[in-house]
Symmetry: D2
């Protein structure tokens, strides 16, 4: 019997704060982590700093939904850009459905067997395929024909958040309730979007309306800070907007396992963005080369300790 993934719940703690702070006196990854936490702390404490947050990777299914929720709820994120996958999984969790734990200690994971069991694998996390049926039911009931088919993706996601049931740590719900802008530039690249499409043949969400709004958020941010989890489209979408921010980004941190040498954006060093005019040449920045599932809880604990 597979165990459910539990969305991790992070507390403030002076010793965690001290341990991370002490890492600033070392080097390699530890120092990068300490610097990233301090930079984010500055972003939160700097008046009028707009905090843009890029979320890629399967962070919701693996148990980081509540971490992101809390960061939104506590005002640590002002603009969220994410993938359709994270939104799909957020709907799954918010509807009370579950992601399950695979066993990394087992010698093999048999994908053929999983297919026969209708169990979709995301590394060592599983999602039963039947969640799509519940998602479909929800969409047919709540998001069928009663909305403007030309709204922006952001407007649609806020609407979706409204329709979702109450939930203590839903990302879509908190974004909707607090009117936190949430962008998903590749929305059609997701199970959620496919379900919505099948129920709404004449849907044509206006992606350029989102683009326009995103650029305006950057434009209006006298001081801008950026936090990137993973990379990909969410990273680029924020970075391309930063070119329009009056002072570019003044703070930037990234958590990634990708590497810079093959030239892909996800692994690109933050300082590369200085050349493009996306990051200010005097910006403070730090890239933590690490698995975000380890770093995000530490970062949130640090911020809850220092910023609340």
């Amino acid at each position: 019997m597979k165990k459910k993934i539990k969305q991790i719940d992070v507390k403030p703690d002076e010793n965690i704060k001290k341990l991370i702070s002490d890492m600033d006196n070392t080097g390699f990854g530890a120092k990068r982590l300490a610097r990233a936490c301090k930079i984010y702390e500055k972003m939160v404490k700097t008046k009028n700093c707009k905090k843009f947050f890029a979320l890629a990777g399967a962070m919701v299914p693996v148990g980081m939904q509540r971490v992101i929720h809390d960061m939104l709820d506590l005002g640590f994120i002002d603009v969220l850009v994410t993938t359709g996958a994270n939104l799909t999984h957020d709907v799954v969790e918010t509807l009370g459905l579950n992601h399950l734990q695979g066993n990394i200690a087992k010698i093999e994971t048999n994908d053929v067997k999983l297919y026969d069991e209708r169990m979709n694998r995301i590394y060592d996390v599983f999602m039963p395929n039947q969640v799509y049926e519940s998602m479909e039911d929800f969409i047919i009931e709540h998001l069928n024909n009663n909305f403007d088919k030309n709204m922006s993706v952001k407007e649609f996601l806020w609407l979706l958040g409204e329709k979702l049931p109450n939930h203590p740590h839903s990302i879509l719900k908190v974004c909707s309730e607090k009117r936190i802008p949430i962008f998903c530039p590749a929305f059609t690249d997701s199970g959620l979007a496919m379900q919505v499409h099948f129920s709404n043949n004449n849907l044509n969400l206006n992606h350029f309306s989102d683009l326009n709004e995103m650029i305006n958020y950057a434009w209006d941010a006298e001081i801008a800070g950026v936090c990137i989890v993973g990379g990909g489209v969410p990273k680029n979408y924020i970075f391309q907007a930063m070119q329009f921010s009056p002072n570019q980004a003044s703070f930037a941190i990234q958590v990634t396992m990708d590497r810079p040498e093959p030239g892909g954006l996800s692994g690109a060093e933050i300082r590369e963005a200085i050349s493009w005019g996306k990051i200010n040449k005097n910006a403070e920045y730090s890239t933590v080369i690490a698995d975000a599932t380890i770093i995000l809880p530490l970062l949130l604990s640090y911020l809850k300790t220092t910023c609340l």
Copy 2:
């Protein structure tokens, strides 16, 4: 004086074919490469096999434009899914503008100095910022108001290809001329899209129309093969469509430097997609853990030797 990037031109060669074939008798990366080449050869030689190709990473600026062009031109790719960045850089090259070489042997690359020189850096490749002005001029002249603002992204990209000047190895041009479907699910996440948007305020390309068409291509493919360069949105967009293909994907290869353990899609093993019903449980597949700039020319040489 910086040197121009030259788009690499690949020839067939029996010795390259033999060297790669011999690698099939070894292990580690060499064997994966040999297997990937042989699987792609099978994809090309299998009657009615529809070949879906996902292109992420900065492959056009680094000199792989011609490799991709040739694969399209020779019928090795039936459906292309790519990033807005590769399309932006394809327009740049097709307009006769250039990408430049940085010097990896130099001890440092100074991004502040590059910013002052208006030179945008992509690892060790540079793009002068002024190319945007030429791109803007082109768009204002050719893509201002004389088109349907609700067409799909694919239709728009074909239209763009028509308007572009003749060029021996433009990706957009060959897709347009040969009516090869080209999808870009995160189109608004690109410099090209921003330029188009600034010139066309009421633009609302229909991303769901693309999604519908993409699913239909998968649906109609009795036999499907997949080649993934990089990962990200292009990978997922093809994989999510494969769920609707009658026999899922029967062949799949991937070239990536990302790793599977942190759970991101780009690094996910191909076999994981079996559990989702995206890859057939009897499929042949191989992931090459390598820099695509080394692998793509070898692969194309192998295919030109064996399939022409």
Copy 3:
């Protein structure tokens, strides 16, 4: 003025323990970390479990000397295998000399300039070249001719530890004082060994005597646990000995950033060692894909909280 690296000092903390324990309900890297901590806790709490610890990577210069010292001092390590580099840097620190911090936030690090300043770089950590002079003085004074030139490397390292001045967190000192076996199979591959060699031309430390002793430690361990930091020679030296342990290793954890696909030992999955008879087929194991400078302090805090 460069700041000194401070050897990080780790405290027990219930919230750190809880945060790590909660990670066991997630997946990806977080779950691997939780499992690794729990497995090490079991190793410590299992009666008669001999704990073998492999230390590669520049852990002493970066600020992890005290973490390793505490683990030795508290009985969390029974047999240490490490690199000549870590021993060299341990002598440096124990003699009161320092490692310094580079600035990862600076845009470039100029190695030519560092060479002119006689400043040796280890990523973002620096060691002034002049420390070698102090090391040489120490060796000439204390380790010149008054010892058996055919002793094992381990015996020599214990002797070296005796001669070193008192120090609160010297690895060599605590190994010597507590007679904790310390092996260095590639000792001649180090600055320390070169200095010793230059002062002792007829030196011929008996590496096979170490090998014999190491195998005996494995032989005598009814229950064996293994912790690997990095990989390389220390990992293999412990693993090859495990073949002679009556029940092979029953517990194994590893912290590494290397990957398995290119076939090198440092990145090899722990389960591969089951096929060799080095790890028991029922063993509990976990590999954390992470920078050890982040993981080691968390692990030690967890162990101090749960095992003291």
Copy 4:
């Protein structure tokens, strides 16, 4: 029935040379590969350039034995530093025993089952455990008591090469026949050394004698070039000697999959060694981030085409 690994046989080829040369006009990994090949070509063509070669990783079992043999035989390597593992596997192959291919296309590799079959796994390469018996027989017959037990490791390896049967591409054999210095600083960290030790209790190979000789080779090299495959002890052993070379290393290339940020030597950038005085500040160097099983055959083909 498992297939045997075939040691890959590389031919010169003008098209391979041209393809690699053209990569010098691109960027990312392709350009690094082109540069590495050209630098090695220069090393071979520069009069009096002594070429030091570090070989880590399981290169012999995977099918690269013949590549290394040819490089030794053709004078492309003057001093070889390697791991005990590669020597162990070289003995296995030279005795006519075999390494076998695992199936990377299969969904799982079951290490427990492999253990029951006495089949040792190195990623997707297998070595039947029974080869140790043949190795033991050989050592008992040929290397029992009739040699100086205090010789250097290098002298012992030459002796071993003499005793081995004739073989078309044995590394130990060609080093012995051509008196090419071969160093193995961590020799006791290997199955071969354990077998030798069990047959020769009073063995005490003089590792410091090797160190002395290695330093002298560096000292005598007015021009020095370095090629690193993998990293680890072989890399450091060459680099530490380069400090004693009158002009340090003037050429340096590396093929590795490790990354620099966690601070380990295997992933360290070559330019870091400039700060230590190991690499000349005007040196030409290139690191190829790639699987060596793909790069070594390409490099050898390039060298056979340009240097013979």
